[in-house]
């Protein structure tokens, strides 16, 4: 399978990555190779198989629903490179 440059640009947009033309070219070839290789999975019959996402079989892990204060509110906010105002971050306009 071959990913076109348009495909690559579309995925990059979904992934919020800005790629230059050289990167688009490189990734369209590399991603095509990698995804073509993945097509060998079609050889495996999975028609009656449930997919797995939790490998040790744990389910429904609950903890007490208690309110806890964050110990690091100010330190965490201080990590942001954005302007701050009353424990809020000020970001650029959407449009």
């Amino acid at each position: 399978m071959q990913l076109s440059q348009e495909d690559v640009k579309h995925i990059a947009k979904l992934a919020r990555l800005e790629l230059n033309e050289k990167e688009v070219d490189k990734f369209s070839n590399q991603l095509s190779d990698i995804l073509s290789h993945a097509k060998i999975l079609d050889e495996v019959d999975t028609s009656s198989v449930e997919p797995i996402a939790q490998i040790t079989g744990l389910k429904d892990v609950f903890f007490d629903d208690e309110r806890k204060d964050c110990e690091f509110t100010d330190e965490l906010l201080a990590q942001s490179p954005m302007e701050k105002q009353d424990h809020m971050l000020k970001v650029k306009s959407v449009f």
């Binding site: 995925i11 919020r16 590399q30 991603l31 993945a38 999975l41 495996v44 999975t46 198989v49 997919p51």
Partner: protein
């Protein structure tokens, strides 16, 4: 004391395993400050050559060592022993970069749970170990801070992604190191550098505060000089935590009890798929010689088959890169980390900060993952791989119904040259062909030194055991290690 004499005693001190250093500290042969200073001297002397530390925390280490000496309490086997943490393990007040530009100046406000457990056990932190960027890689070549070198041949990679950690342990730049293993990132570098690398069962060690690659695969474990040391470190970091809901309530056994020197009654399975084309003949011979040693120790050896092995690489990278693409979405240029200075509107902050901050392999992972999860391709890629994963888990369960451990090579080849695979991502993924199935099945495995190639490069043996059967790894690994002398051989630096 003359300079030369002092230097020599340092060499002897840093050569010690955790258990040996512990004896020395307990019996007051040397202090934790002496030991820590010896490592810091060695790092100063050698790390410009090996590039294994992103950050060295000398003052922090000496302060902790002094406290340990003053308290004089060596009831914990890790008390006063200097170690390193892979630079994805968060450390409060100490830069944690994931070897990425996007986190180049990131200083976490809290410790990872595994770091807290080690610090509580008296561990002395020497510094943060280099890794592939966000652990994406098998060579450390994707690190923003440059590749680490293999101490056995500095033209070669140390493996990855925990390559800084493996190189440090092999070159005596730390007594042990904590790494992470998502598809082989502890075992493969341990194999390429000749040290012990333990990949624990999924959920055995809490992941809180460790930067994720792929959350249903990620595990945290030690790289050590001996199997006994791996057991000692795991004892300190294993077990359920409220900070990680994927850690189950499975009891943590006393791992040192499993360190036996014979293998009577142990059944070893040899999966033939791990000895086929793509695996170098020299590597196969070394492992077959190792299996003979295990037979002499009393093990019963049987053939088993894992026919899905050949599908492990695509299954792994589809799932792992999908999970990675979602995990890496948190880096937006707003909350923390690198932000662009050329954005006029919000979407530009995201697009430009991420493009400036991430390296090539991480971008590739995000692209593959986004594609595999996107509408129209989800069923054909992500879901298909998640089904194959279920079959692989079953295949391992069937194998472990017949035997206690499986024995295979860890890496299809010894350390490769720096640059050799850097421009061919698929060839680089293939370096993990013998390790990823373990992560897909969530089982545990360990790489131990098993010999050398004709070119003098280390070759590691991989031992696998079923979920939460780490003691089987320690039993087989310790017996093999004590019957051979591979661990004693040191790189000439």
């Amino acid at each position: 004391m003359s300079h030369v004499k002092g230097h020599m005693s340092n060499v002897i001190m840093i050569d010690l395993s955790i258990s040996q250093a512990h004896e020395g500290l307990k019996n007051k042969k040397f202090s934790s400050v002496d030991l820590t200073q010896a490592y810091l001297d060695r790092i100063k002397e050698l790390d410009s050559k090996l590039n294994t530390y992103v950050t060295v925390t000398g003052d922090f280490a000496l302060e902790k060592a002094k406290k340990i000496d003053e308290a004089g309490d060596f009831s914990s086997p890790l008390a006063g022993i200097p170690m390193s943490l892979k630079d994805v393990v968060c450390t409060a007040g100490i830069k944690t970069t994931a070897s990425s530009k996007i986190l180049e100046n990131f200083v976490p406000p809290y410790n990872a749970h595994v770091a807290d457990r080690l610090f509580d056990a008296g561990a002395v932190l020497l510094g943060k170990a280099n890794t592939d960027e966000f652990t994406h890689g098998s060579s450390t070549e994707t690190s923003y801070f440059g590749t680490s070198k293999n101490p056995w041949n500095t033209d070669c990679v140390p493996g990855g992604s925990s390559g800084g950690s493996a190189s440090q342990v092999a070159a005596d730049l730390a007594t042990y190191s904590i790494g992470t293993d998502t598809g082989g990132s502890i075992r493969q570098p341990a194999s390429l550098c000749s040290c012990v690398g333990l990949k624990v069962t999924y959920g055995r060690v809490p992941r809180h505060g460790v930067m994720p690659y792929a959350s249903s695969f990620d595990t945290i474990g030690p790289l050590t000089k001996t199997v006994e040391d791996a057991a000692l470190v795991l004892q300190a970091i294993a077990g359920r935590s409220e900070k990680d809901a994927t850690t189950p309530n499975v009891p943590v056994p006393n791992y040192s009890d499993s360190l036996k020197t014979d293998l009577k009654g142990v059944k070893i399975g040899i999966p033939k798929e791990y000895f086929q084309e793509g695996v170098e003949e020299e590597t196969i011979k070394v492992i077959n010689d190792g299996i003979e040693v295990m037979k002499k120790l009393g093990a019963e050896v049987i053939d088993v088959s894992l026919p899905l092995t050949k599908y492990s690489i695509p299954t792994y990278y589809l799932l792992a890169k999908s999970e990675a693409s979602t995990n890496l979405a948190r880096y937006d240029g707003i909350k923390y980390g690198h932000t662009t200075d050329s954005a006029k509107k919000l979407t530009e902050i995201y697009m430009k900060s991420r493009s400036e901050g991430f390296g090539d392999e991480v971008k590739r992972a995000i692209m593959i993952g986004t594609y595999a999860l996107s509408a129209g391709y989800y069923d054909a890629f992500y879901l298909k791989a998640a089904k194959v994963r279920a079959l692989m888990k079953k295949e391992f369960e069937e194998a472990f119904a017949k035997c206690d451990v499986l024995v295979t090579p860890t890496s299809p080849f010894p350390a490769f040259k720096i640059g050799e695979k850097a421009d061919d991502p698929l060839a680089m993924y293939m370096a993990d062909i013998l390790t990823t199935a373990v992560n897909l099945a969530g089982i545990c495995a360990m790489s131990i030194p098993a010999g050398f190639s004709s070119g003098g490069l280390p070759i590691g043996m991989q031992i696998m055991a079923n979920q939460y059967k780490e003691e089987n790894l320690f039993h087989a690994g310790h017996a093999f290690e004590q019957a051979t002398e591979w661990r004693i051989k040191k790189p000439n630096l």
